[in-house]
Amino acid sequence: MNKLSLYAAAAVPLAILTALPFAGAADYYVSYLYTIFFWVVLATSWGILSGYAGYWSFGHAAFFGAGVYATATLAGKWDVPFLLTVPIAAGVSATLAVMIGLIVFRSKTLRGELFALLTLSVTFVLAAVVSNTSIDSGAGVYLSNLPIPALGTTSSGTLYLLALGLAVFSLLVSYQIFHGRLGVGLLAICDDEDVAEVKGVPTFRYKLIAFAISSAIASVMGAIHAVYVGYVTVAETFSVTVGLYVVLMSILGGARHWAGPAIGATLITVAQSAVVSGAHAELGHAGVALALIVVILTLPNGIVPSLLRRLPGHANKAKALLEDRSSVPALPEVVEAPRHKLSSERFIEKMILECRDVTKSFGGIHALRGVNLRIMEGEILALVGPNGSGKSTLINLISGHFPLTAGEITMGDSKISDLFPHEIARMGLARTYQIPRLFHNLTVLENVKLCSVFGRNSVEAGEDSEETARKWLAFTGLSDKADALPESLNLHDRKFVEFARALAARPRLLLLDEVLCGLNPAEVDHAVEMIRKIKSGGTTIIFVEHLMRAVVALADRIAVLDQGRLLALGSPPETMRNPEVIGVYLGSGHAA
């Protein structure tokens, strides 16, 4: 219903805009609107990677310019029909984007900054290449006599229609991505890329795809614009201002929303045409710069998200939650854990995970020195040991967060120690973080839903991801906080969102990293009960814990790590009596 009314609301102005050149509107209006569409396309395409994933490109002009010169060269010099140059232009920029992405997306430190600067430099590089070679030869390329297919109107009318069509197309693409898997993944990348990867988002591939789409659309706009201006120069095409206006427009409108960049683009284009009357171009420039500063300082999220937040309902919920925080919430009854469809078959003693000689060094520090460990399907294994014994490192190695220095880890029949974290997650491994690392711009429900979407076998499971998410929120007692943002939750609740996120991924193997730390005794009892229920639902669990009460209550077996080695492994009573273990915990004097 909502969607339908949206379409209806869009259809009327769209029809009017399409009819405009046929109705013989004055050239002034046609070119004015063309300028708006031009910026809407560039800003919206920029938002597809940079807005959603937070990788800000300062080099959108490079991809736009690649399109300009692809068409200028093909159509202007080699007489390729204009419409044929458009897909070629898109392909050129997409290839360029993928090449840059392959270099810069591998970086794990300073990701965003490196990307911003590298894209900025690509603009200069491309400008130098184009002006130094026969592509431009420094003199510009004339395209004024280019034959273009007439769409029942003048040639400027045709280009206007093409720009309008492209603007609508880019908005549709951005809308689809925003509401699909790709968009959810990109928004999660923006908040915490490492966690997104561990939760099953193929971050590297998604960034490349988004970058390619974003660049291809900008390039098509370049192809159209080359014909529109009729004479292209390097200075105009690759000017830094193009890249920066696009950023400003998107940020102003709200880069994390599909409509944000388009609204920002329209506002700024209109405002600029009002300010820049005649000779005061630099005043307009300065005005835009000042607007940029004010907007970033006062509205860092942009206009659209700020407006959406003011909508009735949205604000009330958040407020109610904030008030709710003061009262101590009663712990909810622990309900039966929802069963996984895939794990209902009974299992015999079967190995689910094996660590062989797992070794990890950080520089000169040997965190793990050859750990051998087998986890059986359906068991709860507690991983204990003094601080610095390598427990969390082992969890991080199993989930793929760090590469192993030596040894290997297998899950079922497949080796997982050289897979990407998202591939391991897809095989049915989920983990929680000791300090909750929630996606802070997504609501609690969205956080959990994302993990269900990208978790194990999400396609085969055939279950609505929202349903799954709500089910696990109910299980962890967070149903009434589904629409809250993580920052409004207390530590206990945030830990349970971590829990729900891991469970929603339908894991075969669940890694819990100190989930009980920081909880009060009643909350601990509640969590212990919950872990029991999860086990009875068919999930294998490895948990790192310092709280011995919980370890004894839950564990089928205990593995004791000390200085990166496996010290003891066995049933709780057996392990706790092991003199070496007592020695490690209480000092060797007590071991006898």
Partner: protein, 282 residues
């Protein structure tokens, strides 16, 4: 190409690299230690250059006197800019945008006051050079290079040997923990922001003396100097100078051996090469 010509351009690149290093120093320290990516660094440098030009042509000030006026003035401007960023709790990414806005504002102001045309500050000592064997060493560039080297050395000593430097590095690696040990991270950050801005002013004096000025030149420096800062490693003064020299020399050799028009590509080629072999350069 003769060996002498090659040596002469290498020398020119080396000296130019000093100015790159000087500009990259402030950028690198502010990015690495304050987590602020300051694009307006370049605009400030050019503002300094234009002021030097104005002081010299209107009042006949010698360049060193302009320097003495500009450096403290820019220190204060750095404090003011930092106050704005601190007031609004601007973080890394937003700082890039805010300082870009400031860059455009300064650029517009320069264009308004001094016009968009090229200006050349002619001084009697502009062309003076010493002859060393077959090579000519331009004195002004040599002074610029030496100042850059001295400042870089001082920044390195300051960061590693003084309490202020250690406090800065501690605050950069973990502000809360540093605060728990009694470091007033806000105060030390102001000092550094002021110093970075002052170094931009000093670089501006040298730019005025050695290059032609136009507001559009600001953008040309951004890419190269950012590449230098990343290649050198953030918050690493010696690295910044070394990377500046590397880029400067490579550019000069490219200009002499191939074609001056390809010079802009040099810094980025080095940067991309480094990213390929070391994806996590910092």
């Amino acid at each position: 190409m003769t060996l002498t010509l090659l040596a002469q351009s290498t020398l020119g690149g080396l000296l130019q690299g000093g100015v790159y290093g000087l500009l990259a120093l402030g950028l690198s320290l502010s990015w690495g230690l304050l987590r602020l990516v300051n694009l307006s660094h370049f605009a400030l440098a050019f503002l300094g250059a234009y002021l030097t030009y104005q002081f010299g042509t209107s009042f006949g000030f010698p360049a060193w006197l302009s320097g003495i006026i500009i450096v403290p003035l820019f220190f204060l401007m750095g404090l003011a800019l930092h106050a704005l960023l601190v007031q609004f709790k601007v973080r890394e990414f937003a700082s890039l945008l805010v300082t870009f806005g400031i860059t455009v504002l300064i650029e517009s102001a320069i264009q308004w006051i001094w016009s968009a045309d090229y200006l050349r500050y002619n001084t009697p000592y502009a062309q003076v050079s010493i002859k060393v064997g077959p090579l000519y060493v331009p004195v002004l560039e040599l002074i610029a290079f030496c100042s850059a080297a001295v400042l870089t050395g001082a920044a390195w000593l300051g960061l590693t040997k003084t309490m202020l430097g250690k406090a800065l590095r501690a605050a950069a690696s973990d502000g809360q923990i540093a605060a728990a040990f009694g470091i007033n991270s806000v105060r030390v950050s102001f000092v550094l922001a002021g110093l970075c801005s002052a170094s931009a002013g000093l670089a501006g004096v040298f730019i005025a003396l050695t290059s032609t000025l136009a507001p559009s030149q600001i953008e040309g420096w951004i890419g190269v100097v950012f590449a230098v800062a990343i290649i050198g490693g953030l918050a690493n003064p010696l690295g910044a100078l070394a990377a500046g020299i590397l880029v400067g020399v490579s550019e000069a050799v490219t200009m002499a051996a191939i074609n001056p028009a390809w010079a802009p590509l040099v810094a980025f080629s080095i940067l991309i090469f480094i990213l390929l072999y070391r994806p996590n350069p910092v």
